[in-house]
């Protein structure tokens, strides 16, 4: 199972295994990683699963669709490496992915 490292705003790192086909958001929620609310459960409807992708991984991810792009446009503290974690499906190639979670989504 691919391993994903989540780093929260205090710098605490957690490495968890996430099944292929699940999303990076689900990997966080099911492992009690703080900072990801995901109110809508992954429907790209609420923008409360915002994460920052560690730069080496950025271009390994599938590109943003228009819905994600726009939802991010209106999120807080958006940076060039911002993504909505509900829109990133875990694949074997993403084994080792590192993402940072923000302080709060609201």
């Amino acid at each position: 199972m691919p391993k994903i490292k989540y780093i929260d705003e205090t710098g605490r790192e957690r490495v968890v295994e996430v099944p292929v086909g699940w999303t990076v958001m689900e990997g966080a929620v099911k492992n009690l990683i703080p900072g990801i609310d995901a109110d809508c459960g992954g429907a790209c409807a609420c923008a409360t699963c915002h994460v920052y992708i560690e730069p080496p991984w950025l271009d390994k991810l599938p590109p943003k669709q228009e819905m994600e792009e726009t939802m991010l446009d209106f999120s807080q503290d958006v940076r060039p490496n911002s993504r909505l974690s509900c829109q990133i499906k875990v694949t074997p190639e993403l084994d080792g992915l590192v993402v940072r979670t923000p302080k709060s989504q609201h």
Binding site: V29, K30, C44, A45
Partner: protein, 403 residues
């Protein structure tokens, strides 16, 4: 001193209340009681990806089991709350137990409204509310079968979209003159009617179902004097709030358990309610019952704030979404408060929004594949901002520059 909180209902609102109570530093006992044999799970995917079969059951659960352990929340599942003894401050459970409480949160949700017509008890007639309903329905969605969907609301139309993908022959029976009439405006209804018809769904408007026919098993649906052959039916004609225990305990109820701005019962400061089962006065000044994830989450948060001793009145902008085929409908605000509709974008391009204005300010937005319109609309609603209708209607003005 509040030492012991009991949550009746283990759905979206119940899970959120546990989370927020602990986040607010409440350190007393928390017990959550759920009628279904499952820990709290997401309902929205039930009529979408879970029904389609692309989303396994494990993924539905809102929190992992470890969350309840770490939150020291005792989960009592497969058990209902049958009565509230307000004097003794205790609830009676269906297994005969009695549980005391200092604060009680009613997060009991809703149940499906049963159709009352001849043949309603025939085999092959389905409803959709919980995991068990979908586990029964999914295997019946077999290619070539004729599915009658009774009710052109969110549930009926989402199921119709999934069934068409599975290769079924789908007919939707809607008693009103348009689909989703209770929830969306005319242009949005018209768009979804075209969308479903283009996908191959037969949509019969102004067509109320009079009876189901068959011997033991559904064979046909009778509507407006005609008989339509059907192998199975899905009834989606709305829900009923689970408020009997509140009413029997003398708490005020309308079409839901009445709550104030802190999600407390006005008749009993120890009892709160959150989610689909409540009746509250929204920020628009209209009393209503909302059926949505947003309202469940936000009312549960505000009930938890108050129960933890730090009340912050509930004034959130309602929001909602529906996925049908590749179309995402996002709604914010309350359209019934509006006095004028402004359309932005082109229905034919499958990307447009309907803004509802009240006294020149945005009261609601219905956005079809239009996330900027939805998100900016939500902010405009929250701010009570006045906008020029002609700018709103001009799709060449970016939403970011609308005010």
């Amino acid at each position: 001193m509040v030492k012991n909180i009991v949550i009746a209902g283990a759905g979206q609102a119940g899970a959120q209340a546990v989370f927020t109570l602990r986040a607010e530093g409440f350190s007393g006992a928390v017990t959550m009681i759920g009628e279904e044999p499952f820990a709290p799970y997401q309902r929205p995917p039930l009529s979408k990806a879970y029904l389609l079969g692309t989303f396994e059951r494990d993924r539905l659960f809102l929190k992992p089991d470890a969350f309840y352990r770490e939150s020291a929340c005792e989960l009592i599942l497969g058990v209902g709350v049958r009565a509230i003894d307000r004097k003794a401050k205790a609830v009676a459970l269906s297994d005969g137990r009695s549980l005391p409480y200092d604060r009680l949160l009613l997060a009991t949700g809703t149940r499906v409204r049963p159709i009352r017509c001849p043949g309603a008890e025939l085999a092959g007639i389905h409803y959709l509310r919980g995991i068990a309903d979908v586990d029964r329905l999914r295997p019946a969605l077999r290619k070539g079968k004729r599915l009658a969907v009774v009710g052109g609301g969110y549930i009926g139309l989402e199921v119709a979209a999934v069934a068409v993908k599975h290769g079924l022959d789908v007919t939707v029976f809607e008693a009103m003159s348009r689909v989703m009439a209770r929830a969306v405006s005319r242009p949005v209804s018209a768009f979804f009617e075209r969308l479903h018809r283009a996908a191959g769904v037969k949509l019969l408007l102004n067509t109320g179902v009079a009876a189901f026919e068959g011997s033991g098993r559904l064979e046909a649906v009778k509507a407006e004097g005609k008989s339509y052959p059907a192998d199975l039916a899905l009834v989606g004609i709305g829900v009923i709030p689970n408020m009997e225990i509140a009413r029997n305990a003398g708490l005020p109820c309308e079409d839901g358990i009445v709550v104030d701005g802190n999600c407390a019962s006005p008749a009993d400061p120890a009892i709160f309610a959150a989610g689909d089962c409540t009746w509250h006065v929204g920020r628009e000044g209209i009393a209503l019952r909302l059926e949505s994830v947003q309202n469940a989450i936000d009312q549960a948060k505000h009930a938890a704030y108050a129960m933890a001793g730090r009340p912050r009145p509930y004034r959130e902008v309602p929001w909602f979404w529906s996925d049908q085929y590749d179309v995402k409908l996002q709604i914010a605000g309350l359209a019934r408060g509006g006095d004028r509709i402004v359309l932005r974008g082109d229905l034919a391009s499958r990307k447009f929004a309907a803004f509802h204005l009240r006294d020149g300010a945005v009261a609601a937005v219905e956005a079809v594949n239009a996330p900027s319109e939805y998100l900016v609309g939500r902010k405009l609603i929250a701010g009570g901002t006045r906008v020029a209708p002609e700018r709103l209607a001009d799709a060449s003005v970016p939403m970011k520059n609308i005010v």
